[in-house]
Symmetry: C2
Subunit: 327 residues, 2 copies
Amino acid sequence: MKDVADLASVGTITVSRVLRTPEKVSEAKRNRVQKAIEQLGYVPDNTAGALSSNKSRVFGAIVSTVNDSVFAQTLDGLSSTLRAAGYELLLTSTNYDPALEEDALRALLARRPDGIVLTSTSHSSGVKNLLKSVNIPVVEIWQLPSQPLDIAVGFSNFQAGYDMARHLIGKGKKNIAFIGGNERGNDRGRRRRDGYIAALADAKLPPIIWPSEEQGSPSGIELGAAVFEGCLKVNPAINALMCVSDQVAVGVICEAKRRGVEVPGGLSVSGFGGFELAMSSGFDLTTIEIPGREIGVASAKALLNPEAARAKKVIDVGYTLVERGTT
Amino acid sequence: MKDVADLASVGTITVSRVLRTPEKVSEAKRNRVQKAIEQLGYVPDNTAGALSSNKSRVFGAIVSTVNDSVFAQTLDGLSSTLRAAGYELLLTSTNYDPALEEDALRALLARRPDGIVLTSTSHSSGVKNLLKSVNIPVVEIWQLPSQPLDIAVGFSNFQAGYDMARHLIGKGKKNIAFIGGNERGNDRGRRRRDGYIAALADAKLPPIIWPSEEQGSPSGIELGAAVFEGCLKVNPAINALMCVSDQVAVGVICEAKRRGVEVPGGLSVSGFGGFELAMSSGFDLTTIEIPGREIGVASAKALLNPEAARAKKVIDVGYTLVERGTT
DNA sequence: ATTAACCTTGGTATCGATACCAAATCAAGA
DNA sequence: TCTTGATTTGGTATCGATACCAAGGTTAAT
């Protein structure tokens, strides 16, 4: 920066101002500085800037996985919105292991981010203390906790689960099973299941949950394929499967076709998430569509303007129950 | 850090050493320092450390999209391997727009990363100059360029495309079309297509490519569904579709079922990528499986140990042609 | 012509760590 | 006991920007 300043015959501080608040510098000097920057191929050093201004222009994200297509849309929205505003994203994934969250957070905080995004909503006390001691916006996404740490952006997984169960009940189904969502660390799936349980209770129907908490189980498509041996064999009366995710639902449908079970005639199937495959040119799956990208964009806005977001505290982006051919 | 040093009655530099090279500090002082760190809830400031040591312990990644499941595995492998070594990942996505690459790179370099990962392999001269002027490892992934900028980790999309076309030819198909892969910025898809063209030329068969470069087209599943109207109608003799990705192949298969076209009887279909759905509990799709996570892990290792990686220059992780029920 | 208010500009201290060098301590062998 | 080399420790300068404050220049009103 000194070199640029010398070449343009100005003080270093003027160079700094050209980069951050160009409107406060006279046009003549601004042009000289910009030419010098170009000529020297100067790339500012943000680590130094972060140190002196106490603003890193970086946000941290701790996600349970990047390996989920709807979830990836959130990341996409988050990162593009932030980058448009001149910020970058430090990404860390915990692979659904809550024990890693504190470590990951500590590592992130060492980079002094200007804010944090978390996909989990249940946190260890260590995590809570760390977040309380730093004074930066914290956005929890994809699930609306009753007591957000700071700001929350998402939708009610409980209500969505409830609605979907009501939809199946409305179709005249009496033996509806809920498939999946019992992995530890997956509080979103669990909330959906709770919504399902509540809806069935309201309709005075018995809930059927598979696999049970204790059983280890495959996940995603494999889980859907395993349903026929593991769940329908035990309870052949089941005529509707409400799956915790579209992936599971797709596994169910593939296996149903293989076995000649008619969908939705013999078995109704619903998904959750709205991943590309669910749509009509794919499986034509009844599902809950989540505006994944919008969650990312809204969280980015919350990070960039925490005061406005804190006024709301909870930003509900909603969801859409899309009825298609499988129910 | 000063506070910690005072509380433990040592110099600040000793605190620094406890954090970075604990084996060089006597056990007594090390314990005192660690207790003081705990007691004060001290979280080191890496921005300051980066400034003075010229090492940020952060790597930058510029990806074309996070929104692709096999690709997400790469990110996953990359980020977990780096985090295990005490590094973090700064993620930026260009959404397949090559024009954004230079901006994104500039923004990343301002954060002074210790290395860069790029998913694209064709770069503007601005990008090349920037990368040349910084002296950090640069890893290009998912495609092996003939002239890597520095280090490359991936596999030959050309060879994989060639192999898959050979496979279809070996099944006795004579009218094989290649579907997709003409989006600008997607050099990987293009290389697969080139492999297909070469294989057909070697077998003296005419290549059929759809959609053509000029036409705009939907992508992913939608594209697969559109094949029947857009491609097979024009050329009903086609009896095998080699799709640029599993997503496209899945779209084809769904639409084929809807139209009562038998797969592989009437139409063979192959995919590319090995996304979860392709496997036998899903679509039972013949595809090229890419070790996505391994690419991530190998790139992380290359970043962490560039000297060793530079000795090889190009790290080929290979691929597997998995023959299943659709061909 | 003078004064006040505003805008533009630059000097210097500072952010919180690490690098580099020098001093102090320790262990082992003469 | 003294010397030597290895190990442990601390002081001080430094990384490259920004914050803060003060000074000079300009404009408009009196």
